[in-house]
Amino acid sequence: MASIDATAAGSGVVNAPYRMCRFTGLKVDQAAETLIKVHAVTAVIFLALGGLMGLGVALTRWPAVQILPPEWFYLVLTGHGANVLLFWIIFFEMAVLFFASAILLGSRLAAPKVAWLGYILMLVGALMANYAVLRGDSTVMFTSYVPMQASHWFYLSLIVFAVGALISVMVFFATLVVAKNENTYDGSVPLVTFGAITAAIIAVFTLASGAIILIPTWLWSLGLITEIDSLMYKVVWWGMGHSSQQINVSAHVAIWYAIAAMVLGAKPLSEKVSRMAFLMYILFLQLASAHHLLAEPGMSASWKIVNTSYMMYLAVLGSMIHGLTVPGAIEAAQRRNGFTRGAFEWLTKAPWGNPAFSGMFLSLVMFGFIGGISGVILGTEQLNVLMHNTLYVPGHFHGTVVAGTTLAFMAMTWLVVPLIFRRDIIWPTLAKWQPYLFGIGAGGISLFMMGAGTLGVPRRHWDISLADAAHRAVEFPAAAYLMMGLNGLFAILAALGGLVFIVTVVASILAGPKLDGPDAKMVFPLHDASRQVSEYGSEGTLKLPGTIILVGIFFAAFVLYYFVNWKYLSELWLFN
């Protein structure tokens, strides 16, 4: 890679060292680059730890294997939730925020030392949380519902982590101000940056909700407060617990647009439409937190229905717009690239051997079909009673967070390694297969957990046979056992995909071919117009026959599944 290390950053502005990336033509601020590296590496370490714990959970819930005893199962389940739902995801998201601000806007990073403070607090919080969980007195699972009480170190660790993350988010907003003041871009920010702004806004609400509930809970664990109301805790906690997953949605949608631009030279179909879809997220996506409380008798039907069935559907509309515009932008770009035959040549001739593209497209499809549709079902008050607190819920969020977000973040990592670490992928064949291994595994986990949940399997119980219960009031059908076994098998496949990802990424960073020479070429090349990722501009076409057909299939699946669940619901009441 031809890189020019220089110290000039334009007249009248603060000088900051940067280099020019010869693959993308982007100006790379060195402080931002270093922070992206450490956040990404830290994220991957927590993914490894959390993923291993996840495999332990899946192999325990497989009745024929049941690898962990109950005490260890709940401990590992707590650690799995914290490490993957919080630490892996949020460390990576901070890397995305620095990329989308300093790098895409060609700006210096505002206050790098403050960003380092944020990173250190996040790291201390994450390590402290693992310490609290692994020593065995904080087995309260991810939701940590009161009156279950964890060690005060557990609550303090999450507060420290949240403060660190909030500091990093503030650095992101400050970088937007710096870029604007120093005129590093004209007009509106690029769409990917706008998606990152959406993620950062949701992060502020998420972290504020976390502070509101975790600080009194920490004081309660210290004995300074006598009681925390359990329903109050749930309402405020889910403002953090579910909204944190909405940061992911915004970030991974931004990544879909980024990869489409960098690998295929895609432009958004319409900047206006895509930005309006992100605005729907900003205004309404956090309200979906209420779907966790749809079975709570203390909350009124008005509160439940306004927050889920009314407002949440506006956020769903935003997702469906992205579900049209991302594949639409890819189709438009591919047709521009010469793949114009029939309705689907653009798709069949897409770079399926490039893990950045295949991971992104699998993430897009599975997020929509599995995570998206099941989210609407769970968010409908009447249908929610069919699967509330069953294994369907983890099935849904493995469709969004694992098959959707994690796969998208993995796909982005295949670009981060060559462009930021300046090392090429060391084992391209392994990298090529990785998204399929992990994607199919994650998709299977989601579907089979949802299947088991539909049959009534509870969300958290160690043993679905209830062998140690005094009174076995429930006997699950054989199909439920089959689902749990298949869940275990697909968890092994996903773990294998995760292992391939971690080993290949780490080996590439440490020993991959260097890309800083003048003739160096990436093994998975970018599009000539990859610079599009940092520019404003619309494709301005709707002549997208392939995308229209795909969207039609999605709608048919959506409507069918929605009404099948109403049919299930109608069978709960037999009027004879």
């Binding site: 706008f194 609400f205 329903l231 438009a332 521009r336 619309s538 301005g540």
Partner: protein, 57 residues
């Protein structure tokens, strides 16, 4: 297929910017809206509902 790139020309920033674009170009206004709407509809309304549940004797 029609390809009508809409890359903003250099002079466009000096033209009248539509109001909606001005809203979308202001991250701090969006931050205000993105925190206020869920804070009112979800958090404050939710907390008021919990607070109004009668205390058991």
């Amino acid at each position: 297929m029609a390809e009508t790139p809409q890359k903003a020309p250099a002079g466009e920033a000096r033209e009248k910017v539509p109001m909606m674009q001005q809203v979308l170009d202001n991250p701090f206004l969006l931050l205000f809206l993105g925190v206020t709407v869920p804070a009112v509809l979800y958090l404050i309304w939710g907390i008021m509902e919990v607070a109004s549940v009668p205390v058991g004797q």
